[in-house]
């Protein structure tokens, strides 16, 4: 397949050249004018196709292209399965979120919703049913309590091959993002990473195969891509935590638990120790609902003391831009951005942060962004839901005072 410019339609506007992430488009002479030409550096990402105002850039099939697999083979795959991870033998929240997203997909397809649970006991499997699973494939072997790539990969691949779900979801966590790619390779399946939205293609008239539409950010969050797996099953995806709504919890819900034996496979890694850190090196920004973040505008460690007071009042976790960390005003563990952590809290309050792209990529998917900065042109205001142009040393103390008044004695 190749992507080419339909030259007579090209107006020479060069919008495509500016959009190509791989420098694969250049202007070339064509009959007394200059037109865009795509060269061999093209990686088929389709960014140019989406920006051409004339629709002059098109996909062309080539002789060697593989024909899509016949739908018959794939229609035997039915059902939506979620991998419900656990930590310390307790089912993690992300599993309930996956059941919420999975239920929506399963209902659209008219198929069952199942969950796979390894290394936790029956009580946790029952919880998954209450959160929406029709069936739970359950291995309670304590050897699987600590996450380990090889046995998890072997067992999940076996379960998928046995029960043939058309869609398999996992959380985009340290666990999911580590072993799901191994499962996908083993099953020759397509895997889309870190999805923020899942939907199904509209059914077509012939009643043919319906593909999952997996939507996810790329290029550091600067674009969104819709990914499909047209010729392979299962369709796999890891899903960003705290974006999907959890399923409806029904304590009376009934379902089936199918026990699984421990996997038989090579195990060449061993978890020797599990260290928990809350106050130490690891600041749990990823799980925070509210983050109160400070940048160069805070002027020094005293500014962060003020911010810490605000954070305490709103039950928030302290964050920081790279500039503040580099100055030594706050520890690296609090850094949000391209060279720090990527976060997606419900509320992100940014104080004295200009909003350089390196910072934005770490927090722009927050639900609500509130920004305080004394420069009206600061780029942070392009992404903020609520913007306050003002001095942090006037606005924040006033805000702290007001919140204390609201809260009362």
């Amino acid at each position: 397949m190749r992507i080419s410019v339909d030259t007579p339609l090209c107006t020479g506007c060069q919008t495509c050249i500016a959009s190509c992430p791989y420098d694969a488009i250049a202007m070339k002479p064509y009959m007394k004018e200059e037109k865009a030409l795509i060269n061999e550096y093209c990686q088929l990402c389709r960014a140019c196709m989406s920006v051409c105002p004339e629709g002059a850039i098109k996909e062309y099939r080539e002789a060697g292209d593989a024909a899509p697999a016949p739908a018959d083979d794939l229609s035997a795959w039915k059902g939506v399965m979620v991998f419900a991870e656990q930590r310390d033998a307790i089912a993690s929240q992300v599993g309930f979120e996956l059941l919420g997203a999975g239920r929506k997909l399963a209902d659209m397809l008219g198929v069952e919703l199942t969950a796979a649970l390894f290394g936790a006991d029956r009580e946790q499997a029952l919880e998954l049913i209450k959160w929406g699973a029709d069936k739970v494939y359950h291995c309670d072997d304590p050897a699987l309590r600590s996450f380990n790539d090889e046995p998890y990969t072997a067992l999940l691949a076996d379960v998928i091959n046995a029960y043939r779900p058309e869609i398999v979801l996992a959380g985009a966590t340290s666990v999911g993002r580590s072993f799901f790619p191994r499962v996908a390779v083993r099953l020759k399946a397509g895997l889309t990473a870190d999805c923020t939205e899942l939907d199904m293609e509209e059914p077509d008239e012939s009643g043919g195969l319906r593909n999952l539409l997996a939507v996810r950010p790329a290029f550091g969050g600067n674009i969104m891509a819709v990914i499909v797996c047209p010729s392979t099953r299962p369709q796999m995806a890891t899903v960003r935590p705290r974006v999907m709504k959890k399923g409806v919890y029904d304590a009376a819900r009934k379902g089936e638990i199918i026990p699984l034996a421990a996997p038989v496979c090579k195990v060449r890694t061993k978890v020797v120790d599990v260290i928990k850190e809350d106050a130490g090196l690891n600041v749990n920004l990823q799980e925070a609902e509210v983050i109160v973040s400070g940048g160069r505008g805070l002027g020094g460690p005293k500014g962060f003391e003020m911010l810490a007071e605000l954070a305490a009042l709103v039950n928030g976790t302290l964050g920081a831009s790279r500039a503040a960390v580099d100055e030594g005003w706050i520890r690296y563990g609090h850094q949000v951005g391209q060279t720090g952590k990527t976060v997606c809290p419900r509320i992100y309050i940014s104080c004295g942060i200009s909003g350089a792209v390196q910072h934005l990529v770490g927090m722009q998917s927050s639900d609500v962004i509130i920004a305080v900065n004394k420069h009206a042109e600061a780029p942070i205001f392009n992404v903020a839901s609520y913007g306050v142009v003002g001095d942090v040393f006037e606005v924040l103390p006033a805000l702290i005072k007001k919140i204390k008044e609201e809260k009362g004695p």
Partner: protein, 260 residues
């Protein structure tokens, strides 16, 4: 010990700007760099080399201009460089990329492979574990500390949401690393001179023994259906007034949002 470091040449996505009118990517003038996570991977390999007894080879799969990234890696201290490049690889998704890189690695021979956690253009973090699966070797992802390396095993810290796991992996193995691991060194003058002259080994599809159907767009189970700009914030409100008035309105908003 033979260490292979997989690197990728990427556009510097933190410098990519968005056209405010069309909301589309402006790539013009944005430099190509070695993927930042790969620098940490390379540094880890070079540190093992410094301790004695290891060679470091950098490998990249990319278009011909990716050679520049390999030379930058040699300038930092890599001993050898391999470019896996073929028009047939264009449009590869992570499955096809892992397959091709594994093919190259098999040809090259190794004891340890170190990769960055993810590339800042694709952002998938899938290729490292994918290569390990194709090679049937163990892997540990999100490595924030390498506690010890022997010819038999690597002992590392895998970062989790709430702390870290201490994991021991038998060699040969693959590690994907995060930024907390180390501080990448600057290239040396001697390194830069060496990088200019070094001969880069070039491999194509035939060299790694893969069929046309297994590589590039034809070997990719995932397809990009569409690309679009992220939603610009719908509700955008600038709160004006004195600092006191602004604070009052903010407090009201925080109350509505159930923050206080």
């Amino acid at each position: 010990m033979k260490i292979i470091v997989c690197i990728k040449q990427v556009p510097n996505t933190s410098e990519v700007r968005i056209n405010p009118e069309t909301n589309t990517l402006i790539r013009e003038g944005v430099p190509s760099i070695i993927n930042p996570y790969d620098l940490h991977a390379l540094e880890a390999a070079l540190a093992i080399k410094d301790a004695g007894g290891a060679t470091v080879t950098v490998l990249t799969m990319g278009p011909p201009q990716a050679e520049a990234a390999l030379r930058d890696a040699v300038a930092m201290g890599a001993d050898e460089a391999v470019l896996l490049s073929d028009r047939a690889f264009a449009g590869s998704d992570t499955w096809a990329t892992s397959n091709a890189l594994a093919g190259a690695v098999r040809l090259m021979g190794f004891d340890l492979i170190i990769c960055g956690k993810q590339a800042i253009d694709g952002d998938t973090a899938q290729v490292g574990p994918g290569i390990a699966e194709f090679l049937d070797i163990p892997h540990v992802a999100y490595v924030g500390r390498i506690a010890g390396i022997t010819p038999e095993a690597a002992t590392v810290h895998r970062l989790m949401d709430d702390g870290y796991d201490v994991v021991e992996a038998r060699l040969p193995a693959l590690l994907t690393v995060v930024k907390e691991l180390n501080e990448p060194r600057m290239p040396s003058l001697k390194g830069k001179m060496r990088a200019r002259k070094i001969e880069i080994r070039k491999l194509g599809r035939n060299d790694i023994g893969l069929d046309e159907k297994e590589v590039g767009i034809n070997g990719s189970p995932t397809r990009v259906r569409k690309i679009f700009p992220p939603d610009s914030r719908r509700d955008r409100r600038l709160i004006s007034g004195t600092a006191h008035e602004q604070a009052c309105e903010l407090a009201g908003i925080l109350k509505e949002l159930k923050c206080i």
